[in-house]
Subunit: 344 residues, 2 copies
């Protein structure tokens, strides 16, 4: 495994050096210093955070920045945490919003409970990415789970989450969690065959470093690591902008997962993206949900309701429920035509 | 009726005079002139359209402006049409996006077919607002409908839609349509009791001129104008930001509509708002769906499927289908608790 670790000492206050685009404006940091703005703020709206990406040309989503709390650079990406005017604290990786305190519940709960509530008694779960810990927090609600493995490439994301997002990073405190800092592709290649009930892939854009995570060899590794009738859930784009990419992902999954292949979607206002991956846009996130050959999995009708009272966490579910689980598989007509033609 | 009309001669090219904030940048208009940018462009991002409102402090949603096609001022609002980089032509009223060519289908189809597919054989339908014509286009798909009345306050919106959005304004061509330019509140007060099967309210924010459209007297007028077991559908905010407002609307509706009271929501990436009303944000739109005392209406299980082949329109439905109709009533847990406690 070619894990590269960024030590906790890399966690530092906003850098003094900055590029020319940021020269015009200044901003108060946590400790009261005046410092130059990161480029992703000042290049578009002074005093605002703006995300723009080749993935959605011609669009920007902006949140008012009240205070920059952290700015660092790991071996993999630029990491920023700021206090926003209306969404609480916001985590940004390479200029792209990953999570906000206000709406992280929708993403974390759906990417986790859509797969885990679709199979009876999940015991062994693997999370690829998800370094903020929110998916771990959600997996931990399932009393049947005995082991939760996580492979996250960037240790700085874990450290920053523990420092600034304690209600998200609380997931790391569960004693069933084994955290590995390393490359998810390599981790899966080395995983024992048929060893997991569920794999959750909290991955990034197919454009960029996570490209491999949307290609057949990766899906093949996932299928190999799952038990018969095991399930995978992976982030899968916005229906509104990238039907072409979704079409390819569905085709690839249909070839590799011999159980069922489904597309679901849900609403997340700030389009959070997780762990090095700008992947949900337009206030919606899509998920691919597939199962391997074996016991049938009917994703649209969950068989494993969460008993909130059995959860180690004190906080109740905010977003997920059995009704919204089923509703997530109801697609707009324009998408249904394309996806059903590829999935069946 | 205190209708005020803006004549078609008010349709004019972008104004030469502009405020100081716009002085820095210029933009090519349809006829090639260089003119100053409207304030809502340049005040935030040069070359971009940005919408900001007291309704969602600290947030902005931005689209790249390729060309301003129209700018005018009616008796009620500023009207702008621009060509965007990725969403086709965009209609903006008082600085707020109303519709884009790319995603208008979701809003128009859902606000129309959620009520009309929930009752058998709707014959007489009233639309308040909706001056772009898109809701009319959707109502016209229902072969059972014999009469479609529309009361829109701003004639300029109708004229601009006919000029720049022919695929939306096509709704006005249906021979069953009676368009009245005037005040919707007054129109409803004068409507015959029990005369409509369905009323669709394409209204604006409760902050501002449309405030009345969210208060009890207006809902009472709607209930009076509906037949027993008649239905109303009105835009009703984003679950993500304004649960307090939604709570009040639900309480008011519960007092006045003695049939059923329901909340539904759907995804529209650019948060379009219609006819003088900045009302859907965060990529989702909510709807209140209520029925009057009389034959039961079970909104969650549509009884009146649309037969596409009977439609006068050649274009098939892009977004709506029976599955997504039912799914729209499945709410996140945080919203379900509040709304169900008020609605039942």
């Amino acid at each position: 495994m070619d894990a590269k670790e960024a030590s906790a000492t890399d966690l530092k206050r906003p850098r003094e050096e900055d590029d020319a685009a940021a020269a015009a404006a200044s901003m108060e940091t946590e400790n009261g210093d005046q410092t130059k703005e990161p480029a992703c703020f000042s290049s578009v709206i002074p005093g605002w955070f703006s995300e723009m990406s080749p993935m959605w040309p011609g669009e920007a989503h902006s949140l008012k920045v009240e205070k920059v709390l952290f700015q660092g650079k790991s071996d993999y990406q630029d990491v920023i945490v700021f206090q926003s005017a209306t969404y609480g604290k916001v985590l940004v990786l390479d200029g792209v919003i990953q999570l906000t305190e206000r709406d992280e519940c929708a993403y974390q709960e759906m990417i986790t409970h859509l797969p885990l509530c679709s199979i009876p008694n999940p015991k062994k779960v693997l999370v690829i990415g998800g370094g903020d810990g929110g998916v771990l927090r959600e997996v931990a609600r399932h009393a049947s789970v005995e082991q939760i493995d996580m492979c996250e490439i960037d240790k700085m994301v874990v450290d920053v989450s523990k420092q600034f997002f304690p209600n998200v990073a609380i997931g790391f405190e569960d004693p069933r969690v084994n955290l590995v800092i390393g490359d998810g592709v390599a981790f899966l290649k080395n995983a024992a065959e048929g060893s997991y009930d569920a794999v959750i892939v909290d991955s990034s854009d197919p454009i960029g470093p996570a490209k491999e995570l949307f290609e057949k060899p990766f899906f093949q590794s996932v299928a190999r690591a799952l038990r018969p009738g095991g399930v995978v859930c992976t982030q899968a784009e916005s229906l509104w902008l990238h039907m072409d990419i979704i079409e390819d992902i569905v085709s690839n999954c249909r070839e590799i997962f011999k159980g069922s292949v489904n597309y679901a979607w849900t609403s997340v206002p700030t389009y959070p993206r997780h762990v090095s991956l700008p992947f949900n846009i337009h206030g919606v996130i899509g998920f691919m949900l597939c199962s391997t050959e074996g016991p049938d999995v009917d994703f649209k009708n969950p068989v494993n309701p969460i008993d909130d009272s059995s959860s180690k966490s004190d906080a109740p579910l905010k977003f997920y429920n059995a009704e919204i689980h089923s509703a997530a598989f109801c697609l707009p007509s324009f998408a249904m035509k394309v996806i059903e033609s590829k999935a069946n």
